[in-house]
């Protein structure tokens, strides 16, 4: 067998294998948008639906069915805020529109921008949890020591699977601008996380 012949064959193998390598490196990054699309379509991973007020109350529902919605508010350690729901849970009729409130207070001596990220558990229920109004739709800016009550208006869809009796709406507030505690201490300039 001639050495040339082997070289040519080997070069083709190397080309193909290198191609696979590059492709799979790209695939890792492609998983990011693919994952988000997948989660949005299937409603898994706590990504909740969003409907306008006019879409609500257009369908028949069973006024005797109730489920419990629990509320939870957490603050990321980089955000100098206080944050909690007005009530820990409420009983709701799937199909009806409800409003509750969350309390937030800026503990820092300067304005801070926060962004709330919602999540609904169990994951299979998140598709049926629709918010018509939420402070998580936009960034929230609080002046030094400012306190606010922020409303959330939501409707649990009557299509919610029968075996779901309790669901949790959880928010985590993240620092979107302003300062982290460490930077506050060091007296550094403003710093933005996220994109």
């Amino acid at each position: 067998m001639s050495q040339r012949h082997v070289d040519k064959k080997a070069r083709k193998t190397i080309g193909v294998t290198l191609g696979v390598t590059v492709l799979m490196f790209g695939f890792a990054f492609a998983l990011v948008p693919l994952y988000n699309v997948f989660c949005e379509i299937t409603g898994i991973n706590g990504k909740t639906g969003r409907v306008s007020a006019s879409e609500v109350n257009q369908r028949d529902f069973d006024p005797n069915r109730t489920v419990v919605v629990q509320f939870d508010g957490t603050v990321n350690s980089a955000l100098p805020w206080q944050f909690h729901p007005r009530q820990v849970s409420m009983e709701v009729v799937p199909g009806k529109l409800y409003t509750t409130e969350f309390f937030a207070k800026n503990l820092a001596d300067r304005p801070v921008v926060g962004q709330a990220v919602p999540s609904v558990a169990p994951g299979e229920a998140s598709l049926y949890f629709n918010k018509t109004e939420c402070f998580c739709f936009t960034e929230q800016t609080l002046q030094p020591h400012e306190e606010v009550w922020m409303p959330v208006t939501f409707r649990v869809s009557p299509d919610l699977p029968e075996d779901v009796h309790v669901m949790t709406l959880s928010y985590t507030f993240f620092n979107k601008g302003g300062l982290t505690p460490a930077q506050e201490k060091a007296g550094q300039g403003s710093h933005a996380t996220g994109r």
Partner: protein
Amino acid sequence: MSHATTHEHDHHDEKPKGFVKRWLLTTNHKDIGTLYLIFALIMFFIGGAMALIIRLELFQPGLQFVQPDFFNQLTTVHALAMIFGAVMPAFVGLANWMIPMMIGAPDMALPRMNNWSFWIMPFAFAILLSTFFMDGGAPAAGWTMYPPLVLQGGKNVAFMVFAIHLMGISSIMGAINIIATVLNMRAPGMDFLKMPLFVWTWLITAFLLIAVMPVLAGAVTMILTDHYFGTSFFNAAGGGDPVLYQHIFWFFGHPEVYILILPAFGVISEIIPAFARKPLFGYTAMVYATASIAFLSFIVWAHHMFTVGMPLGGELFFMYATMLIAIPTGVKIFNWVSTMWQGAMTFEAPMLWAIAFVVLFTIGGFSGIMLAIAPADFQYHDTYFVVAHFHYVLVTGAVFAIIAAVYYWLPKWTGHMYDEKLAKWHFWLSVISVNVLFFPQHFLGLAGMPRRIPDYATQFVEFNMISSIGAFVFGFSQLLFVYLVWKTAKGGEKASSRVWKGAKGLEWTVPSPAPHHTFQDNAPVNDADLAHGSAH
């Protein structure tokens, strides 16, 4: 370029003189194989030393020797060192030594790249291990590097990511080289279905490597940009998702566990027929079983994340897909047992390690099936049960196979027989202590002891003590192995070219020690020399 080197050597069969030429600049597959194996052994002891500090701390509840942060650094780097520094390079070393000799090729297809892919490794690990001496210390978020915890690391994040990039490049180059060698360099007459199973399993492993190492590289690159450049791939504050990281990581991570074990399957499939003096039972079934395991490994990754809050359908899919892997794996176990069935077995060291592999790996496989049961996994997740499971498949699985391989081929490499009596001591000490070390960890996990903790509740005291005693006996028994290998390299009873009466394959047709250059002339292979020479 690459083949020019091979040609030069055609005219003489001497080893290059001088340390730099012989080792630093070498393009010889045997020398590079030796380098890989020595490197793996060194990393095995570095990672092992970390494990012993971990077991020392866990000997008693409370904090005696190390602080929690350093403990976390140890668990993290122990895993990285053992997976990427010890087990993978050891198998690449075996591949370098044996694949060309097994398929009748003069060398690897890309000898120069072979040199690079080895010499990247010491640099990668120098970078990783150097983080221990920085302020902030080594990475401590676990070898899985989950955000958001990993993003809270200090400078070590950049070093860890860069080290992983280098390891990835090295293994990808190694894998490309193996694929190019097996596909293009087989001697005439060495058909695919006559190849030894070690070559088959490595070929499939190499494809797994080029498919998933780039995915790991991508994942850690996103960690890097999240940490330093303000992107939000996994940063929830910016709209990213930490759970997405777990999906990407385990898309790499599950095939990775087969990268660590398939070559071991190959080794065991060589050794058992040699000492049972029977051809391997179900050769083609073994090839197809290996290929199906490799294929299935791509669709089971989320069994590592049953507790993240997946929808029920997802849990069911990943549960059943995972259990499906037990079928081709079971085919392998039964084929090995059938090979031994009514064989004229002898129990030299390689066979003892191989039999221990079959028994103990099966235990690790069974605990794996238990973990695959999604509803049960909620109890086992992140407990010592998981630790026991993966140490059974990786220590008594992969590491035992590597040790078996070394005893099996050491006479071929050195030209000397090892000390069988001492080797038996090594085996029995190891096989008893390794079970003392890892078996109690099943009970600890079932009782609820979480993994990655430096301190624990007092009801776990006894089993932790037993486990730590086993760890020290197992660790120090391996010094015996080093002594044995060193002694065999230095001298001893001359080995014949066949070495083992029942051994089949081209590597046994060359003298012992194997000359620096073998199969230079591309002569057709003789079917009688092959384990699977007759038609199947």
